[in-house]
Symmetry: D3
Amino acid sequence: MILSFSTCVEVEAHLRSGSRTIVIPIGSTEQHGPTGLLGTDWMCPEIIAARAETQSNQVLIGPTFNVGMAQHHLAFPGTISLRPSTMMLVLKDWISSFCAQGFQTIYFLNGHGGNIPTIEAAFSEFYAEASYEKRRSSLILILRNWWQLAGVEELARRQFPHGHGSHAEPSEISVTQAAYPASIKTAHCHPPIAPSGPVRDALDFKARHPDGRMGSDPLQADPRHGEDLIALAAQGLLAELAALEAGHDQLG
Amino acid sequence: MILSFSTCVEVEAHLRSGSRTIVIPIGSTEQHGPTGLLGTDWMCPEIIAARAETQSNQVLIGPTFNVGMAQHHLAFPGTISLRPSTMMLVLKDWISSFCAQGFQTIYFLNGHGGNIPTIEAAFSEFYAEASYEKRRSSLILILRNWWQLAGVEELARRQFPHGHGSHAEPSEISVTQAAYPASIKTAHCHPPIAPSGPVRDALDFKARHPDGRMGSDPLQADPRHGEDLIALAAQGLLAELAALEAGHDQLG
Amino acid sequence: MILSFSTCVEVEAHLRSGSRTIVIPIGSTEQHGPTGLLGTDWMCPEIIAARAETQSNQVLIGPTFNVGMAQHHLAFPGTISLRPSTMMLVLKDWISSFCAQGFQTIYFLNGHGGNIPTIEAAFSEFYAEASYEKRRSSLILILRNWWQLAGVEELARRQFPHGHGSHAEPSEISVTQAAYPASIKTAHCHPPIAPSGPVRDALDFKARHPDGRMGSDPLQADPRHGEDLIALAAQGLLAELAALEAGHDQLG
Amino acid sequence: MILSFSTCVEVEAHLRSGSRTIVIPIGSTEQHGPTGLLGTDWMCPEIIAARAETQSNQVLIGPTFNVGMAQHHLAFPGTISLRPSTMMLVLKDWISSFCAQGFQTIYFLNGHGGNIPTIEAAFSEFYAEASYEKRRSSLILILRNWWQLAGVEELARRQFPHGHGSHAEPSEISVTQAAYPASIKTAHCHPPIAPSGPVRDALDFKARHPDGRMGSDPLQADPRHGEDLIALAAQGLLAELAALEAGHDQLG
Amino acid sequence: MILSFSTCVEVEAHLRSGSRTIVIPIGSTEQHGPTGLLGTDWMCPEIIAARAETQSNQVLIGPTFNVGMAQHHLAFPGTISLRPSTMMLVLKDWISSFCAQGFQTIYFLNGHGGNIPTIEAAFSEFYAEASYEKRRSSLILILRNWWQLAGVEELARRQFPHGHGSHAEPSEISVTQAAYPASIKTAHCHPPIAPSGPVRDALDFKARHPDGRMGSDPLQADPRHGEDLIALAAQGLLAELAALEAGHDQLG
Amino acid sequence: MILSFSTCVEVEAHLRSGSRTIVIPIGSTEQHGPTGLLGTDWMCPEIIAARAETQSNQVLIGPTFNVGMAQHHLAFPGTISLRPSTMMLVLKDWISSFCAQGFQTIYFLNGHGGNIPTIEAAFSEFYAEASYEKRRSSLILILRNWWQLAGVEELARRQFPHGHGSHAEPSEISVTQAAYPASIKTAHCHPPIAPSGPVRDALDFKARHPDGRMGSDPLQADPRHGEDLIALAAQGLLAELAALEAGHDQLG
C-alpha cells in the first residue's frame, strides 16, 4: 500500500487491520558524479520499498523524504541540503504526525550515509522528551540503510570487488539504472577509481573530489546488478517488517 | 529537464546556457476526503510541471516538496504535517542551496492553500536577512498556486459550477485521476456538498467535517476535466516562466 | 474596558461576568510615505477598538501590538520590523498568557497587510500543538483586518475611487488624521499616484517606490473621511464581538 | 520627537542633523496589585520619556515595548508575558532594524525589574555576534531603569520611607496617577505592607502574595509625588542623553 | 559526595536518605589578566563546594559547568563563550535531568558575574513553562555567587581595600592560588590598578582593557588570603544548604 | 599545556609558536552500572589527554566537555543529559570561540558512544554555513573516540575477551580505576554479563537493563589494565596530533 496513492479511509482500515508499521524511504538530492542521478539516494530506498510493497499487502510505504543532509555536495549544482538542525525538526514533525494516528513503528529506509548522524540525533531528540518526563515513548523508531539489509552489502562487494568506494558507488547507480533505464548516463572518468578523503565543507570536498566521486568507479554500474540488488533488498526488508509485526523488539 | 533524473553536470550546463529559474512543485500529504488521494496536493503541481517540461527544454523542475502545513487534517490517518516554523526553516535551506549555485528565480508551484501563509512568511524571513544588512537579495522568490495560472480557476468554475468547495475539490481530484487512472477511488458522500467552516485544530476540523471535505462534492471529479486543467495550467506555467526569463520583474 | 488602564481585579471581574473575548489591536511601525505617520498601522486598529470600547462596556481591549513584520520597509528610517519567526513566537506567548486566565477568544484587529501571513502561520503553529496531541484547543483565534469589517472597504473605495493603492493609503491616513489632528503632515508627491510592484527585500522596495508609497495618492486623505471610517469600523467590530459572545462559531 | 507620530522623512532629517540616539520606553503588562494599572510598567518610562521630549527637540522617542518578562504574574488575569528567549529575539530584531538606519545608541528606558536579566542577556547576545566575528559592534546599547536616573531613587525613598517595597510600589503608581488622574483606583489592602519573598513560578507567587503586592503599600501613592518623580526623572534622562551625544562612552 | 566520583546506586541512596539538594559549581573559561588562570571562574566555586563537601556527608556536588557567558573576553586567546541563548538551553537540560530524578533544589554556586543575567533568564524560562500551564513547578532554583556567601565580600574588601576591581580580582586569584599553588603566575601590570568601563563587544573590551583587567590589581593576590576566603565561603555554603534542607523557603 | 591552568598570555604565546591544535576531552555524566563512576565517560578522555600532555609541551588541552547526550540513561539518578539540539549549539559556540583566536584544528577526544551522532551532526552544521556561502571553512574538526586510537580497541579485547559489552565496559572502568584508585567501587552483578538491546527512551532502557550495564561484565575491571590502556591511548593521541601539526589532511 502506497500512502500517497491511497485515501485516508484506506489507511485507517489498514491500521485497524493490525498493521502498525510505516516505511519511509529517506535519501538526498545531491550530486552523484558524472553519471549518477541527483535523485539516486532517495530513489534507491523508494525503489526497494516499492518492490517490497508489490510482494505483500501488509506493507505501507509513506511519502519519500527526498532532501536530506548533503552540505558537503553543495558546490555541485542541483544539490539541495538541509542543515542537520532543520532535518531534525522535520523528522520530529513527521514522527509526531504518525504518533497521533495509531502507528507504532516508523521504519526509515535510508539511502544516504550522510543522513545517518542526523537521523540518529533526531531519534534521540524524540526519545529525550519521554525520558525527561519519565514516560515510555509510544513509538519505535528504526533506521536501516538499504545496503545493510540481509546480504545486500555482501552482494554489492561481490558485484564490484574493486572501486565500490563510498560515494557515487556502482551499486546505487545500478539500482537506479534497473528502475529507470531511460535515464542511464555515460561519461569518462579520470582516474577510473576516484580518491578518498575526509568530509568537511563543500569547497574542500570539491577540491578533493573534482568530479564528485569518492573512492568509486561508477562506470561499472549495470542494470542487471541493480535488479539483483533490488530483489535481495526487498526480500530483506520484508523479513525485517515481518519480524517487527511479530513483536520482535531487538531492532534499533 | 527533471533535476532528480539529471546529473550535476547536466544541471551545470543548463545554468551555463542562461536558464536561471527552477520550478519546485510544493504541496502536502493530507486527507482529501473519501475519494481523494493523500498525495493530491503535491501530485497536482508535480503533474502540471512535468507536462510543461515535456513542452520546453528550457524548464528545470526540482524535487517535489511533498509534506507541507496540514495540521488541521491530522485527525485523519495518513496526514503528515510540518509545523509552520519547521517548514520555514526547510524552505530557507532549499532556497539557500540554490542561492550558492547560480540560480536567480525559485518558482514554487503550490498545490495546497494551507501552505500559503507559511511560504509567504518564509519568503519574508529570507528577504529580511538582506533587508537588515542593507544589501540586495540575490534571489527572486515566487509563489504561484496552480489554480491561479492563467484561466485555470475560471475553467474549474465552469467545469464544476456547484460544489467546487475549498478542500477535496473535484478539480484537484480530476487532475490526479487524469494522471493516475489506476488510482481512481469511489465512495458515497453525505451530504453531496460538504459544509464549510473555519479552520482551527484537527479535532475541531474533524467535528465540523467528519469525512474531510470542505464545501465540496468531489464525486463530480472526471479525468477528462483533469486533462483539460493540466493542459491549460501547463500552458500558463510556460508563459510565466518565459516572462521571467525575459526579465519581467513584476511577479511576486 | 482598556486592559492597560485597568487593574487585575477589574479584569478578573470582567471575566467572571461572562465576557471571554479580548481584542488586540495589532499593526506595525513602518514608513507610510511622505505624509503618513510611522505608527499608522497600529494606530488605526487601536483607534477603532477604542471607539468601540466607548460604546459597550462588554468590550475588553488589550495592549497594542505595535511592531510587526515590515522587513520590506527597513530602508526607510524609523521602520522597525520583527522577523516572521520572531513574531510567531511573540504571538504564541501572548496567546499562551491569555490561555491560562480563562479567555476563550483572542481577536486580533489588524492594521497591516504585511502581518497577515505571519499571524496566520502563528495561529497554525498554536493549533498544531493541540493537533499533534489529539486534543481540542481551548482557544479561538481570530484575525480581522479593520478594512474587512462590514462595509468599511466599500466606504473607502467610495471615498477614494482613484489612487487608494496598497500602502500609505488615503483611508488609513485619514483615520490617523481624524484621531490626531495635531499630527497632520503635508508634502508634495510625484507622481500623484505611486507605482505598484512586487514586495521583496528593502532595497528592492525602495528602488521601486522611492518615497515609500505603493499605488496610492495619500494626499487625498481627509480627517472627515477618517471619522466616517472609524465610526463604521467600530460598529462592525461591535457586531462581530456580539456574534462571538453569542456563540457564533463560523468566524476564523 | 515621537517616532510613531512622525514620518520617515522627519526621522531621516533628524538623523542627518546629527542626533543618533533613540530612546525606547520598555516595560511590561502585568498585575500591579489592587490599585495599580496593568500598564504601570510601560507607562512610567513612556511618561518620563514624553516629558523629556517636550523639553528638547533633540530627543527621539521610539514606540513603547509594552509586553515584557512577567511570567511570575501570570496567575493574575490581564498579565501578558514573553518567555525570556522570545523577548531576546524581539530585542534583537528591534536593534537590528535601527542598526541598518544610522542610529548609534539605543537607549532602553526600563520600567520593570523583571525585564533586567533578559535585556542584559539580549545585549550580550547581540554583542556576541560581533565578538565571534572579531569585529567592532556598530551600536551602543544602554539599559537604564527610570528609578536609577539621577536622584530618583533617593526622592522615592524620601517620599515613601516605609512600605515602598519591590512590586506595586507607591512611586510607580504615583507616576501613573499624575499622568492619568482619571484612572486612579482605590482599594483596601491587608496587611498594609505586603510580605516579601523569592520569585519563582506564577502559582508560587500568588500563594506568597495573594493580592499581588511585594513588600509595598501602594495606597500611599499620590499624584503630586508622581509629578515630582516625573520631573526629576525627565531631567536625569535629558542629562544622560546629552552626555551620550557629547561622546561620553562610559555608560553601559 | 561528589556526583562524578559516585555511582548511580550511591546517588539513588543519597536521595532516598532525604537529601534533595544538589550544588552545581558554575563559572566560565575566560581570560583573567596577565596572572589569572583561564579556569579561575569555574575553579573558585568548585574549590569552595569541594571544601564544604569534606565537612558534611549531606552535601552532593554535581559536575562543574565550566564554560559560560564570556563573549566580551573573546579577543583574548583561550576564552570560550556560550551565547546567552545557548546557555539557557543547556541550563534547561541540566535542570530537566535532575527534575526527573527526585531532586528538589538545584543550587548553582556561581563564580562569574557575566553569567548572572543568563542564569536568571534561564530560571524564568524554566518557571514560565509551569506558569503558562497553571501548575506549580516541582523545583526550587537558586543562584548564589560565592562572594555573596555570608561574610565573604566583606572579608575580600578587608583583604584588598584598594584595587579589588571587578575582573581578574585579587580575591578570586587568591582562591585559585590557595588550591593550586603550582599554578601561581607572576607578571608586571601597568598601571597597577586597571581602568574600569562598560562591557560591550570583545574588541571594544580589549581596547579599553588591553591586559584584560577591570579596575583590579591582581598582583595583590595571596594564597593565604585565598585559604581564608575558601574556609569562610564553605562555611557560608553549608549554612545555606542546611537552611534549605530544613525547609527555609525564602532563598531565591 | 592545560588551558584552564594557563593564562591567556601563555595561550597566545603557544599559538604564536605555531601550535594551532586544541584537544577537547568530551564525554558524559551518566550511570555506568553498579560500579562505574557517573563521570567515567568524561574522565577517560581527560585522563588520556592529561597523560599525553605530560609527554609533549606541544599539546594544548582545553576544558573538559563533561555533560553530553545521555537521554537513555536518565532513569538512573545522577545522569545529566543535553538534548542533541542543545549539544549542537554548545559545540557551535565552543568552536566559534576558538575560530576567532587563530586555532586551526579542534580535536574532540570522545569518551561516550552516545555522543557520536550529535557531534557529527554539529560538525556538519558548522561546515554547512561555509558551504551555503561558498567559502572555505577556516577550521578542521576532528572526532576521535579514545578507543579508536592506534591499538587501543585491540588491547581492550585482549584484556577482556568476554563480557566487554557496549556500556559500563571493563576497559573504561579500568581507566578510571587506574587514575582514581580511591574511587574503586565493588558490587555484585547478576547475570555476570548483562544483556544487550536497542537504545530507545530511558524507561525502555531501564526495563531492558535494570542495573544499567549493556552486554558487559564490569567486575573484570583492573587498574593495571587501565594503566596499559592509558599509556597506549596517550601514545596514539600524540601520534595523531603530530601528524596533524605536520599537515596531514586525511583525518576526519
